[in-house]
């Protein structure tokens, strides 16, 4: 009987509506629309910012090829690409191109930026999803445990662990993992997304998704699948640990907050088990701030992906970005940065909507 009590929604989370009830329904639609329309200025500001920042330093051709070509050849290339025109003209041209989905061509290897994205985006998405899984698997259960064991030794241990996760740069975590599991123990491969054979088999498939694990499973190639998984473990753990620490802390702090509420005490007095109090009654309302922050983690995750991919030679967008950075190919850098920023803007939008669905207070 006691376990079926559903009146345990956190009363403090849903304050009495400040607006008339009739308007409350429409306010969500309005919020949705406002928030959706806000994406465009956000992306517009980003594109503008990046464009002008990148042009302050000069034209990309000199940056990429300066010193390798004679001044005459350089000038020729610059005028052929249109970089000798006024910046404002170039800016509007760039905006127009972006509207048609044209993010320019890379200078160093003359590919369309969108093609680079299509080729390497899947690898980055795979890494991000893998590490998010690692982060949630570690962060949520241990966060709950730390909240339950508050101020006792497991809590102390877990909090230090969480801080250590955050304090360790992904590339150092990656380096340590490579040293321990790759070089010393020899258990796991230390670089790449798959072995040579598996990679050949997987890229040779008809219309591959680019996500190696999916491709391997779809073609029923089990040896390739296990190879892909063994390659994916270390990068996913390196990047996942970074986010796991954040989740652990968030879950802990918020669950401690909700555990102290009267309704939890009321539930306890009705005989609800401690386990259920923790994992249902205290945990669910604590999810709201967690979801909000999870959206913000996407940016951290993508930034971390750049470093993780470089560490493990994981041929994704981040790895490619680092290559273009070294080659001083700023058109490619600009394209990838803008695209990543757009992805983050969209994710934040989705997260805001979810947060507003759960917590009416967000709809200001």
């Amino acid at each position: 009987m006691a376990t079926t009590i559903n009146l345990t929604e956190n009363p403090a989370v849903t304050p009495p509506p400040t607006r008339p009830a009739a308007k409350a329904g429409g306010s969500f639609a309005r919020y949705l629309l406002t928030r959706f329309l806000l994406i465009f200025p956000t992306i517009f500001i980003l594109v503008t910012l990046v464009f002008f920042l990148m042009r302050v330093t000069g034209d990309p051709i000199t940056a990429a090829l300066g010193g390798r070509l004679t001044p005459d050849q350089l000038a020729e290339r610059i005028s052929a690409a249109g970089y000798d025109r006024p910046v404002i003209v170039q800016y509007f041209e760039y905006l127009g191109q972006i509207f048609t989905g044209n993010f320019g061509r890379t200078i160093s290897d003359n590919r369309a930026v969108t093609e680079v994205l299509a080729t390497y985006g899947a690898a980055t998405a795979e890494l991000a999803v893998n590490s998010l899984i690692v982060a949630l698997l570690i962060g949520i259960p241990f966060g709950l445990l730390a909240a339950k064991m508050r101020d006792r030794w497991p809590d102390a241990l877990l909090r230090v662990f969480a801080i250590l996760c955050y304090a360790t740069p992904v590339f150092f975590a990656g380096l340590l993992l490579k040293l321990i599991f790759g070089v010393w123990l020899g258990w796991l491969p230390i670089a790449g997304r798959a072995g040579v054979n598996a990679e050949l088999q997987l890229t040779g498939l008809q219309n591959p998704s680019g996500i190696f694990l999916l491709d391997a499973l779809r073609s029923g190639n089990m040896s390739a699948a296990s190879d892909v998984i063994s390659h994916a473990i270390l990068p996913a753990v390196a990047l996942g640990l970074l986010t796991a620490g954040v989740f652990l802390r968030l879950v802990r702090t918020n669950v401690i907050g909700t555990l102290g509420r009267d309704y939890v005490e009321a539930g306890r007095s009705r005989g609800v088990s401690e386990y259920r109090l923790l994992t249902k009654h205290a945990y669910r309302p604590a999810l709201i701030p967690i979801i909000t922050v999870m959206g913000l983690q996407i940016a951290l995750l993508l930034g971390g992906a750049v470093l993780t991919e470089t560490t493990f030679e994981w041929k994704g967008l981040g790895f490619q970005l680092a290559q273009y950075l070294t080659a001083r190919d700023f058109v490619a850098v600009q394209g990838i940065v803008v695209l990543l920023a757009v992805i983050v803007a969209l994710t934040n939008f989705i997260v805001d909507i979810i947060a507003a669905l759960i917590d009416p207070r967000v709809r200001f």
Binding site: D151, A156, A167, L307, L325, R328
Partner: protein, 324 residues
Amino acid sequence: MSTTTHVSVPSKRSLIYRLPVISHLRMSAGLQRGMLVVGLVLTVAFLLTAALAPLIAPFGFSQMADADGDFPTQAAPGGKFIWGTTVGGFDVFSRTIWGAQTAVAVIVVAVLFSIFIGVFLGLVSGYIGGWLDRVLVVLADAVYAFPSLLLAIVMSIVISGGQSSLWGGIMAAAISITVVFIPQYFRVIRAETVRLKAEPFVESAKVIGASTWRIMFKHVFRNATRTLPLIFTLNASEALLTLAGLGFLGFGIEPTKASEWGFDLNRALSDATSGVWWTGVFPGVAIVLTVLGLTLVGESMNDLADPRLRTRRKAKRRGGKAAA
């Protein structure tokens, strides 16, 4: 006499005991005190290392030879080079020590800039609201949407053209970090301000006739900044992590201009494959310990500022106080 001190404790305490870290230390107990103390020790050790680097480090950060001839390359730790040497013949111990200086410079510049700008904008935006609020929120969101490392990369291209000198590298890292952090302070302070605006004490202040600015900077500010120490130290550590990330991607500071941990880790990556661990582990551990120290201080201060999270002292002591 005992009753008067009891009632007016906050105003009568001497200044020393009201300084942030010291008051927190006195307030703390048990486990929390342990974490705070460990954090303080690490942070102080970090600052001392930075200040005394010329005395501690046996060699310069770009020194590759001394009177006895060229340094060996990839020498294992031990003897003259207690933490070994890199593939380029640098002494790992010296470079790790010198790296603390670079880190302090970047952290101080970045965090000071962003706190002043971010807190001010957050208070104004949250309390006054209206179109100003909307515009600032859109702007902050736009910048916030950038993965901070990417923004830092773009900024460092702008500031130093991807070239890396000592101050170019430090300012590039610091300014790009500032740009990334302003929206963070802004968001936190704004959200707190919006929440506090609805609290009864703000209304009471209005009824009494306090001016808008007074309410904003006395009543709301005091309450909204509870989370600041946490963000402050987290940002100090994030500044360091961003610097290291930039260095790792090759956008840091040239090894001949200054020592930078992230750059050293980048070079250590290929060493690790062949089992040479000392070039990467030592600078890496330096980053971890520094960030750990800063974060422990911030965490503890945050918990202590929040009565719900503060560990209570033993009942005996409190009982004694109440009796007195």
